[in-house]
Subunit: 145 residues, 2 copies
DNA sequence: TAAAATTAAATTGTATACAATTTAAATCCA
DNA sequence: TGGATTTAAATTGTATACAATTTAATTTTA
């Protein structure tokens, strides 16, 4: 059945490439004792200082079922604090601790080291981003979240 | 720190798009009681009849820690059989049951229905595959597996 | 305004992923 | 040939993902 041939599948290369890139991050992030999703959260906090769980979830396209335990692990490592909002008790704000702020210095070289590990040129990176990003944000509204 | 800006990250769009596409597969695969990685295994078996765990792992870039429990679940659903090779007792061959063979008919419309769900044109699909696939197979040898 | 509906997190349960180790079988080679 | 090495799966343990439900707080609205 031609349409079910494995090599015809679009999705597999994206699924496999995602895991492959993550595996290249792993030794770099391991030096900081972070996983890749934890690193994404830290990137957002370094940029925005404080975000709540809902906003983190919208940006990363992850739900509270994934984020709550992940954030508890970052809290256990003393990189963040989880603070319930005074104005709206349903909301939990995530803030960096001094250790969380300080970790940014150690992370500074990761993007360059990752590109080196992958052996990709800036042009290739841009081409790939240009191919993937529009589809991602066109599809995103279709999600329930 | 400019290089750590979230919007500059290459990897996130690929990571998020992979999960987003999988979420579009989910309702279609749910009709067959399959997950996306289980569907990938079934695609390979429909094409090749029999594959061992190692070959499945090389093709899907998954290790036995992922595949062994996944294959046990497919076996519990009576879609496959796990048969230890007579020639080499270390090898486990995966074979389709009659139910596993029959499921291909029910899966026939999934690729078209997925493309419809994503709202992508064949040209867009091809462009994306062309951007992703070369990098995937260039990076693959760097993996230990 | 008080019950109904909505919202934000947390919780529960299932299924990947993957590192690291273990087990058992096959192969190497001194 | 027989111990050392290698190989294929399985196992163990940790960390995502995500559907579905629950809990608690806020907002809507009759």
């Amino acid at each position: 059945m031609k349409q079910l041939k494995f090599s015809h599948q679009l999705c597999f290369p994206i699924y496999a490439l995602s895991r492959l890139i993550t595996s290249h991050y792993q030794p770099l992030l391991g030096e900081l004792d972070l996983t890749y999703p934890q690193y994404l959260v830290m990137l957002l906090l370094w940029e925005h200082q404080s975000m709540n769980v809902k906003t983190l979830g919208e940006t990363l396209m992850l739900d509270s079922g994934t984020l709550t335990p992940l954030l508890k692990r970052l809290e256990a490592k003393k990189l963040i604090k989880r603070v319930r909002s005074k104005e709206d008790e349903r909301v939990v704000n995530i803030q960096l601790t001094p250790q969380g702020v300080a970790l940014e210095q150690q992370a500074a070289q990761i993007p360059l080291r990752l590109a080196d590990s992958l052996g990709v040129t800036p042009a290739e990176v841009q081409e790939l981003k240009d191919a993937v990003t529009p589809l991602l944000y066109r599809l995103k509204p279709a999600l329930k979240c």
